[in-house]
């Protein structure tokens, strides 16, 4: 078994690390400090890779596994950086019955990543979401702020092509 860590190289700066350590120091002695520290760490780095979690584990004297357990429990935390384009597939009821599950699986296969992950080139992130209020267009996905509706899996290549820059 090997660690399932992010395939995109960590590019944290010394300045980011200093900010994180400052935040941890400001919570010193507080009970339940882990959640706010994780939230602020995610604000600094955009995500919580093993490098960031290890800094938190060491500075707060909390086992790394405990931190990882919290990070994977809450959907607000991400183990991967956001790609240039976030593809968000609606898996809400209306979209789901119209086949958005197939869209999601097809995108996952095409991009070679699971939900919550980012392609190694940093271009695409794939996430699922619940109702975005466009049920009339079901099934729906968004790429950053662009909305695409009434889709079939055959439309996906065309959509991806638009974001090759």
């Amino acid at each position: 078994m090997a660690a399932k860590t992010c395939s995109i190289p960590f590019a944290g700066t010394a300045e980011q690390e200093a900010r994180l350590k400052e935040i941890i120091a400001s919570h010193k002695g507080d009970k339940g400090a882990l959640m706010p520290v994780l939230q602020q760490a995610q604000e600094i780095y955009g995500y919580l890779p093993i490098e960031v979690q290890t800094i938190i584990a060491t500075e707060m004297d909390i086992p790394l596994e405990k931190i990882y357990g919290v990070v994977t429990f809450y959907s607000q935390f991400s183990l991967n950086p956001k790609g240039k384009y976030t593809i968000s597939v609606c898996l809400g009821t209306a979209c789901y019955v119209k086949g958005s599950g197939d869209l999601f699986d097809e995108l996952s296969a095409k991009l070679g990543i699971s939900g919550g992950e980012t392609t190694p080139d940093g271009k695409f992130s794939l996430v699922d979401c619940r109702c975005i209020g466009a049920c009339g267009l079901a099934p729906v996905l968004t790429v950053n702020d662009d909305v695409y509706g009434r889709l079939t899996v055959d439309d996906l290549d065309g959509i991806l092509e638009k974001y090759q820059d």
Partner: protein, 588 residues
């Protein structure tokens, strides 16, 4: 103590205020089944097996019956508790059926078959259909990365007993619950293999696992092969604590001494020589007492800390790497024994060390890691070839059709089966310290001890302290078991708050008698019986009945120094009986 009036199943009882429904029922001799609950360790009300109905007072009237988890719910004045209503029994049964719906039900080939808490509960609660709620199942890769154990999450029931013991009792926390809901699984950070973490291999997680999700890597087949190979001389050694617990696997009460039957069983299994790690323990005392006096007299690093427990050693290397110089350089008794067999004994019987197979039966899973460490190969080959747990030995005995309970009591073979009372108490917390004191004090004073029992360092408490005046010198000692306790004491040593000269540390709470390789006792026994105290008593009773109770008076030990090692701490002894450590740190 404030007492509260309660009714359990219609009968009146009194119980102390603040106790849980479960505890109050136990005091009234009413047993409520449990699964995830471990007293003082895992009290989280997760599994819902201990569910009961209660009705509490509302003013003058009684409130409606409600279902509560008895392990976490406190009693109240006038409470009515119903432990066996049809609704309660139906609820427990349904809970079990739901657990089974996502459980790998390969019971016939499971290592815990016949000794599984889930299996027993299903039988007790009358579960008739294993597949009542079958649907989607989770599927997990086995974690076989560690030297000592396997995690099979397909059998895990998410009780979190292993998580609690790892983080609370041992202060390590390399396993925990990842993800949530249906995806929840117990694993390491970033789903890494256990071998890549700061796991110390203590096996306490295996000891508390109610099912077959955690088990040691089994070496019994390799040992049967070695025994069957006529070109090999197969020598077995057994740790002190094994004789105090092996009987449990054959129906004897906890705290039964089966040393004689164990020796008889090993002989019938076909081992060429049946020796005793207690001899290795006596040898350890000779070297360790000498090392301690040398450090005291020549300004060596103090406090010196014992090095018998491989779980503790790995803990020190990961969590206190700056203190590895404090560790005694002595190999553990098991390794000293193996090294002596493959050097001294090999020469004596005229067999090449590579044709000798040393098998160690240990109450420990960390020993499986220890045999593969660097600097544990005095004769150029591994000092010890296989280290098996008490449980594995029980399996070998069963597999061979040996009727353990009918065996006569037999003795160990000479010369490496000769040992003392000092050697046997190594298996309990405080035992190594007491054995070392018996030898160190007599060496320092040159006089015979009036009383050789150092009662201050006995008992199952996690941290003990004592101070002795020896030949005009005050020796402050500490005895620690359980690694969370070790951390507490070492922090004090680091900060200078404590000034011990000698510390004994054993990785498992209570010492080796409670090791991770001992026969598993179910939660309902662990919660009501002090297993480690009962097993430790076996060792102290053996000690008090022994004709020789000091390591330096062991005739076989005297002989091995005369014929081979020279003096304790000699260059030859250092080469063969001592080792070195690694500064591992926490995260790579």
């Amino acid at each position: 103590m404030d007492m509260i009036n309660i009714k359990i199943n219609g009968m009146d009882y009194e119980a102390p205020k603040g106790t849980t429904v479960l505890e109050a029922a136990r005091l009234a001799n009413v047993e409520i089944p449990t699964l995830c609950f471990l007293k003082d360790i895992n009290e989280i009300g997760a599994c819902r097996i201990c569910i009961v109905e209660v009705s509490e007072k509302r003013g003058e009237a009684m409130g409606p019956k409600r279902m509560i988890a008895s392990c976490v719910y406190p009693i109240s004045e006038g409470m009515h508790i119903y432990t066996n209503t049809p609704k309660v029994i139906e609820s427990r049964k349904k809970t079990l059926e739901l657990i089974l719906s996502n459980h790998d039900r390969k019971c016939l080939s499971c290592v815990r078959s016949g000794n599984c808490e889930l299996q027993k509960l299903c039988k007790d609660m009358g579960v008739e259909v294993e597949s009542r709620y079958d649907g989607e199942k989770t599927s997990f890769e086995l974690d076989t990365s560690a030297a000592h154990m396997v995690r099979d999450n397909n059998k895990c029931i998410l009780c979190r007993r292993c998580v609690a013991v790892c983080s609370k009792v041992q202060g390590i926390g390399v396993i925990g619950a990842n993800e949530r809901g249906f995806k929840t699984n117990i694993a390491c950070a970033f789903e890494d293999g256990l071998a890549n973490t700061s796991c110390v291999s203590c096996g306490q997680c295996i000891a508390v696992c109610p099912v077959g999700a955690l088990y040691e890597k089994d070496s019994t087949a390799d040992i049967f092969e070695a025994i069957a190979d006529d070109s090999k001389t197969v020598v077995v050694q057994t740790a002190p604590a094994v004789r105090a617990a092996l009987g449990e696997a054959f129906g004897y009460p906890i705290g039964t001494d089966v040393e004689g039957k164990m020796a008889a069983a090993l002989r019938r299994l076909g081992f060429d020589k049946v020796f005793d790690t207690d001899f290795g323990a006596d040898l350890t005392i000779m070297e360790e007492a000498h090392e301690f006096l040398d450090r005291v007299q020549n300004g060596g690093k103090l406090p010196m800390i014992t090095s018998c427990s491989p779980g503790w050693i790995k803990y020190c290397e990961h969590y206190f790497p700056d203190m590895t110089e404090n560790l005694s350089s002595c190999k553990s008794p098991m390794q000293m024994f193996g090294a002596t067999v493959k050097t001294y004994y090999a020469e004596k019987i005229g067999v090449k060390p590579e044709d000798i197979v040393v098998v160690a039966v240990m109450p420990c899973t960390a020993k499986k890691f220890e045999i593969g460490r660097d600097d544990q190969n005095a004769a150029g080959v591994a000092d010890v070839d296989y280290s098996i747990t008490t449980r594995e030995l029980a399996r070998m005995i069963e597999r061979s059709g040996i009727k353990f309970n009918e065996l006569p009591d037999e003795k160990f073979d000479d010369p490496l089966g000769i040992s003392t009372g000092a050697g046997v108490i190594f298996g309990a917390t405080g035992g190594v310290m007491e054995a070392a004191l018996r030898t160190a004090v007599e060496t320092l004073t040159g006089e015979e001890l009036k009383s050789i029992e150092f009662s201050e360092v006995r008992g199952t408490e996690g941290i003990k302290e004592a101070s002795y005046d020896v030949a005009g010198m005050t020796v402050k000692v500490a005895v620690v078991s359980g690694l969370a306790n070790a951390r507490e004491v070492l922090k004090k040593v680091e900060s200078g708050e404590a000034d011990y000269q000698f510390i004994e540390i054993m990785g498992c709470p209570g010492g080796c008698v409670n090791g991770g390789g001992q026969p598993q006792q179910p939660g309902w026994v662990r919660n009501t019986v002090d297993i480690k105290a009962l097993r430790a008593k076996v060792l102290y009773d053996i000690d008090s009945d022994m004709p020789i109770r000091k390591s330096h008076e062991n005739p076989a030990i005297k002989k091995v120094y005369e014929e081979y090692f020279g003096e304790p701490g000699s260059e030859k002894a250092h080469h063969i009986l001592h080792t070195s450590y690694v500064k591992r740190g926490l995260y790579k």
